[in-house]
Point group: C2
Chain length 195, copies 2
């Protein structure tokens, strides 16, 4: 039997990506076999090759699509006013955008070493582009006299690390509601760089 009812490319394609994100985030790319992934989708392994040329490209596409989305979404969320407001927006965006995409965040951070060199370079470029947004905000803040720090580039990395670590421990059903955790992180970030 082939092509079950309602099973088209438009349905199976997204299913493949979702299942891949879920499984790779949980088990790691190397530990997930194409047969496992196929079973999760509900097809045979061979059918996956209608949706990706190979396993490596599947990983790369997942990471690239995620990062491109992150950057585009932030550029829309960026108020582009004073540095303080922009930094506040960045912290809020980073937490709120990534939270419902925890699998993609996990994959994009943890699977870098499984990318072939040219794919790695492309992903690093995108990651750097996102970091550069934050760095630009910090530098604007320095210019405005609102922020003071020893080194904007290192501060950028420190803040990104701090915000990203968030996803390794936050659980919806935990002690604190999201609004509160967001406020706590904003407090820490703001104090760290404020003049």
């Amino acid at each position: 039997m082939a092509r079950k009812q309602g099973s088209h490319s438009d349905i199976t394609g997204p299913k493949v990506r979702e299942a891949a994100l879920r499984l790779i985030a949980r088990c790691g790319w190397a530990a997930v076999s194409m047969r496992q992934l196929a079973a999760e989708v509900g097809v045979q392994a061979g059918a996956l090759y209608n949706y990706t040329p190979d396993k490596q490209t599947l990983l790369f596409d997942l990471m690239r699509d995620h990062l491109v989305d992150v950057i585009e979404s932030f550029d829309k969320a960026d108020p582009k006013t004073d540095a303080q407001s922009r930094l506040r927006a960045f912290v809020s965006f980073h937490i709120r955008y990534h939270l419902p995409r925890a699998d993609a965040v996990f994959v994009a951070y943890m699977e870098l070493r499984n990318l072939e060199p040219e794919n790695f370079a492309a992903i690093e470029k995108l990651r750097r582009a996102y970091e550069d947004r934050l760095e630009a905000i910090l530098r604007q803040g320095e210019a405005e006299g609102a922020f003071a720090m020893k080194d904007a580039r290192v501060a950028t990395r420190a803040i990104i690390g701090m915000l990203t670590g968030f996803f390794t421990w936050y659980r919806q059903e935990g002690r604190l509601p999201l609004e509160e955790v967001e406020a706590i992180y904003w407090d820490l970030v703001c104090n760290a760089v404020a003049r």
Copy 2:
């Protein structure tokens, strides 16, 4: 041929652990085969089973030994005086202790999902024990009136995340010497929690 010249358990054992840390950090535990590891050590795959009962236990032992070392070493480095001095010592220790052990840090951080449940629980307990050291310092600082933050537990995680992110980008040959980067991080941490 067996037992090459100068090849004893005391030599091969450490070699296995070093090679395992190096390979797992670079490629991921799931992606490293016992034959690859054996080749790196310079023995056949079967010989590895003189040093570990199985691949899973090898991973667990590497992570546990690392974390036990971290905790013991910090307890020695902790001045146990005022919170400000202790926090300064924590930041310095975290950066300086982990830097020459980048492979172990990477493995202990990235391979959690490849641990079987009971092993995972044991490692999480150790990680938590380390984080608790920092939390205790922050709470002492609050009690002394030296620090002020909205939530000590969240601040603990934020600071750990910030400091650990350091190892994902710092390179010995980079723009800034270690002393300077350490000072920058201290500045950020200190401002984030200072009253």
